[in-house]
């Protein structure tokens, strides 16, 4: 064992975390934004809104993420006329894919808000989107925060898949150091520890929110 390989390459490898976090953040915010609209569609009583939204959600949930990444990387240029680049195509894939998962989390959150709240807001003359924005979603968010954080942790881990199109996020950089130094055991132990620490912090935060919510209910 030679742990010096880690300290020597620490800066380079942790530098990849910047990209990892950036991708997580974009997938999270973009996925939630699109997911909000899908969730509203899935809750709509209008068939022409409900069916397309449902079809979207079921389609993306049936696909492996890596395939969606390939899809946008190799097939998007066919439609757009030029390559989007590894980063953009991967981010679009993540946003499209994650939106289908967020849609279901958000749908549950919206349903947890009592109907009377919507009725009271409607009675004052507010429109659908204003009601969602100011009355429903803020309340739904509190109820779904733990599920959102759990999903964020999954996204954080899944960003490592971006290596397939050549993006040098954290795990890819560890892998590159290994190719050069041939110190697989040390390097992948290190990678495991990094993922473990970050995800544990996330889980603890989710637990904390969950407990706070339980307490506020009682």
């Amino acid at each position: 064992m030679d742990w010096a390989v880690i300290t020597d390459n620490m800066g380079y490898m942790l530098g990849g975390l910047g990209l990892t976090f950036q991708m997580t953040l974009i997938a999270l915010s973009g996925g939630m934004f699109l997911g909000c609209f899908l969730a509203m569609g899935r809750l709509s009583s209008k068939k022409w809104v409900y069916y397309p939204a449902s079809a979207y959600v079921h389609f993306f949930r049936s696909q492996p993420l890596i395939l969606v990444i390939f899809w946008l990387y190799f097939l998007a240029p066919v439609f757009v006329g030029r390559p989007l680049g590894a980063f953009y195509s991967t981010m679009i894939a993540f946003v499209f894919f994650e939106a289908s998962y967020f849609s279901e989390i958000i749908r549950g959150g919206i349903q947890s808000v009592p109907k009377g709240q919507v009725m009271a807001a409607q009675a004052t003359g507010l429109g659908f989107f204003t009601i969602q924005r100011y009355v429903v979603l803020p309340q739904a968010l509190g109820n779904m925060a733990p599920a959102l954080i759990t999903r964020a942790i999954v996204i954080f881990q899944d960003t490592s898949l971006a290596y397939v199109v050549g993006l040098r996020e954290f795990l890819r950089r560890v892998n590159l150091v290994d190719t050069r130094e041939v110190r697989s055991v040390e390097l992948y132990c290190f990678a495991a520890v990094v993922y473990f620490v970050i995800c544990t912090l996330g889980s603890l935060f989710a637990d904390h929110l969950e407990r706070k919510r339980e307490a506020s209910k009682a």
Binding site: A121, A123, T124, Y134, V135, Q139
Partner: protein, 242 residues
């Protein structure tokens, strides 16, 4: 002000919730609706501001047909305040924010102006000191007064009340009724679903008794209490006035 003409409402086939309901509410008058639970009182109120879709008849508010596809239902609702049994204040907003939300987004008035207005209304319902609190920190009576202020903030021509005191502890009922009596005396047009017969005696211009989706008795305070014609009304009054 409100013309209700032969309303029929079903939520599902074979179960008629409102059956040939007709009533008129004149400008500045207060109409009290009472009747046993499940008789369709809440459904009727919701028909008036278009929260419920009825299948028969017509409702006109200030001459505007509620269910006409050309009617701007949002503008119509903005002109009709509504107060619910369980307050339905937004729990994640302060009292002031609860009151200013609709004026800012529907009437598009400035935040400063909306807040100023909210303070005046809170003053009027007697809880100006609670402006910065959240609904959860208030008593039931205070919450309902905030809900009334929220309705008044749109400067509606008409207020609907759906059992505004039924969820309150007895000692808080009076403070809410007082606000409502003041409103009625100030000339607000009001439709009030309530079993508070003291309130009805004091301000009602007309009392309507509903049973199984129909209006079975209608009259002014005198005739309603002293000479009810319908047997169900008599039974109901005997129970409630005991």
């Amino acid at each position: 002000m409100i013309e209700i003409r032969n309303i029929g409402l079903w939520y599902r086939k074979g179960q008629k919730i409102l059956d040939n309901v007709s009533a008129t509410v004149g400008e500045g008058s207060t109409v009290v609706i009472c009747g046993p639970s499940g008789s369709g009182k809440s459904s009727l109120l919701r028909c008036i501001n278009g929260l419920e879709t009825f299948q028969e008849g017509e409702i006109l508010v200030n001459g505007i047909s509620v269910q006409n596809p050309n009617t701007n239902i949002y503008r119509l609702r903005a002109n009709i305040g509504m107060v619910f049994q369980h307050f339905e204040l937004y729990p994640h907003m302060t009292v002031t924010e609860n009151i200013t939300l609709a004026p800012m987004h529907v009437l598009k008035i400035s935040k400063t102006r909306a807040r100023q207005k909210a303070m005046e209304l809170l003053e009027r319902v007697g809880i100006a000191d609670q402006a910065a609190k959240y609904p959860g920190q208030l008593s039931g009576g205070q919450q309902q007064r905030v809900a009334i202020a929220r309705g008044l903030a749109m400067e509606p021509a008409l207020m609907l009340f759906d059992e505004p005191t039924s969820a309150l502890d007895p000692e808080m009922i009076q403070e809410v009724l007082e606000v409502m009596v003041d409103l009625a005396r100030d000339g607000m047009t009001m439709v009030v679903v309530t079993h508070e017969m003291g309130f009805a005696r004091e301000v009602a211009d007309e009392i309507i008794f509903m049973d199984h989706g129909r209006i079975v008795e209608k009259g002014n305070v005198q005739t309603f209490f002293n000479h009810p014609e319908n047997e169900r009304t008599q039974q109901f009054l005997a129970r409630i006035l005991r």
